[in-house]
Symmetry: C2
């Protein structure tokens, strides 16, 4: 079966939330923590759906739950860059309006997705993508508390950083990415009761990456995309490759211009465009009819589905 686990047409016409918590060869030692984090986020999803929140509000709450849990590479569990700092990216997009917001390379925000949401709400078309200090200044103005970078660093990632650094030839390069770097980015999609789609993605990048590196997560059309005419998409994987192929927008374009189904479009992008070109990883995608696909090209992808009022469903492997 091409899309095992929780894919297919599910949830009928009702509200529906999907989420992912990274796609890689997840070690057994990390399973319990990840499952607990997924469960918490699915509970947040159920709350948002039952409260009849707009899709864009719901994805923000779900991703904020994933950022806050600590199991994932987002928010306070983020991996450390070459300098040993947490540096976060997040983006989201509203399907009915095409509005979006993204923050990149921020170091003092516990919940970058909430700041991206504020940017979407208050941007007025003036600024939808903000980087670094400017993004943090905007956040402070919007009432978010800036935190010290150290408070976002957890012991697990401090250790991972130390191990990677010890193995690397640090002097010869301005980054020391391991092979098969974990991709623990988080994301959520929602179709709400009125049929509105939304997508949100948040990440802490990879251990040892260059300072200032921005991946596909906050980039509209790459790791995050939503258009009510076609689909909503949130991706996790080798960000540079997902950006080059415009993973989210390419699925949209295949549906819009080639008349492909969500499943065919998403499968092609993940297995033909991305995987053979160095883009290991996966994505979750939904269309307005409630079709759900979660293709991935690596060993496993943490993923979950919450239909309003139903028990949550999760899957990791194929």
């Amino acid at each position: 079966m091409a899309f095992a686990g929780v894919s297919g047409t599910i949830g009928g016409a009702g509200p529906l939330a999907l989420l992912h918590g990274g796609a890689w060869a997840i070690p057994d030692t990390a399973l319990a923590d990840h499952q607990e984090g997924l469960a918490e986020a699915l509970a947040a999803a159920q709350f948002a759906l039952s409260d009849a929140r707009p899709a864009i509000d719901a994805v923000t709450r779900i991703v904020a739950a994933l950022e806050g849990h600590g199991a994932f590479d987002a928010g306070c569990g983020a991996m450390l860059n070459r300098a040993g700092d947490v540096e976060l990216d997040a983006g989201l997009m509203d399907g009915p309006t095409g509005r979006y917001g993204g923050v990149m390379a921020v170091q003092r925000l516990a919940h970058p997705i909430r700041v991206a949401y504020d940017l979407l709400q208050h941007g007025n078309g003036q600024a939808a993508l903000l980087a670094g200090d400017g993004a943090e200044a905007f956040a402070e103005r919007e009432g978010h508390t800036l935190v010290a970078n150290e408070t976002l660093i957890c012991e697990r990632e401090r250790q991972r950083y130390a191990e990677h650094r010890a193995e690397a030839d640090v002097d010869s390069s301005d980054s020391f990415l391991p092979d098969n770097a974990p991709s623990d980015t988080v994301g959520a999609l929602v179709r709400d009761a009125e049929g509105r789609l939304a997508a949100a993605t948040s990440t802490g990048g990879m251990t040892g990456r260059r300072s200032g590196r921005v991946g596909d997560s906050p980039i509209i059309g790459a790791g995050t995309f939503a258009d009510n005419g076609t689909c909503a998409v949130s991706a996790t994987g080798d960000g540079e490759v997902f950006m080059r192929w415009l993973a989210g927008h390419e699925i949209h374009a295949r549906m819009r211009h080639a008349g492909q189904s969500l499943a065919d479009a998403a499968e092609h992008v993940v297995q033909v465009d991305l995987a053979p070109n160095g883009g290991s990883g996966g994505l979750v995608a939904i269309d307005r009819d409630g079709n759900v696909v979660m293709p991935f090209s690596c060993e496993g992808m943490y993923r979950g589905v919450q239909c309003e009022g139903d028990p949550p469903r999760t899957a990791i492997y194929r």
Copy 2:
């Protein structure tokens, strides 16, 4: 005629360079300076073409000439953000390989396009998009000199900033963009003697914009895109709208999935997707057969064409 000025099928199978220097209602007082800057960049184009440089090298040289001239909103002529600082974005993409590089929100680089080029050359897939201080640290490591921000501020833009600021209600907002903000972004496309396509774009944003704001220029698939199977594109205009519609990648997708010509695809994106949705501006685009289009939805767009060995051609209005 849909594409006046220098559009059409030109240059036969020979090497060809296109460039733009912004799309807006250009005041008469700025004409001479812009025309001189275009002429210098076209001379750089002629040199690069006659020297048989690869397309990606040629677009870098052309855009570096535009960044260095001072007439345009890029490099040392850049407009100032709300804080009164120069903050630059640049990106480029190589059509045959899909490699790309981009730097965002950098304050101490006179030629951000050259740093984006280095990122493309040495990125090894590890990092293709860098923001802020991290981008500047990479640049320094690659041998670029970091300059004080003040050295990038020209008198013309200091005055423009002071005028906008005096007219704005500065305290009520974290930006003070004027209506019909000038869009003086620069870009270049090249098809070289071996048929390789490349695109490059560089910008200083708009006067009074939020600090940290990143527009479409460095974002692959938005303001800059190149794929030898379809087209190369460089855009200038309301960046937030060009990002939402993925202007460059949408032209590519229409050619690839809907079988449209370059002219039809580009015309649709500029006049139907962008212009009615607040996305005033324009773009230059080229396909591998040497078809050239330069559609815009505003009063004028500075644009030029250089076929190897021919006299340069330029146009502003329709």
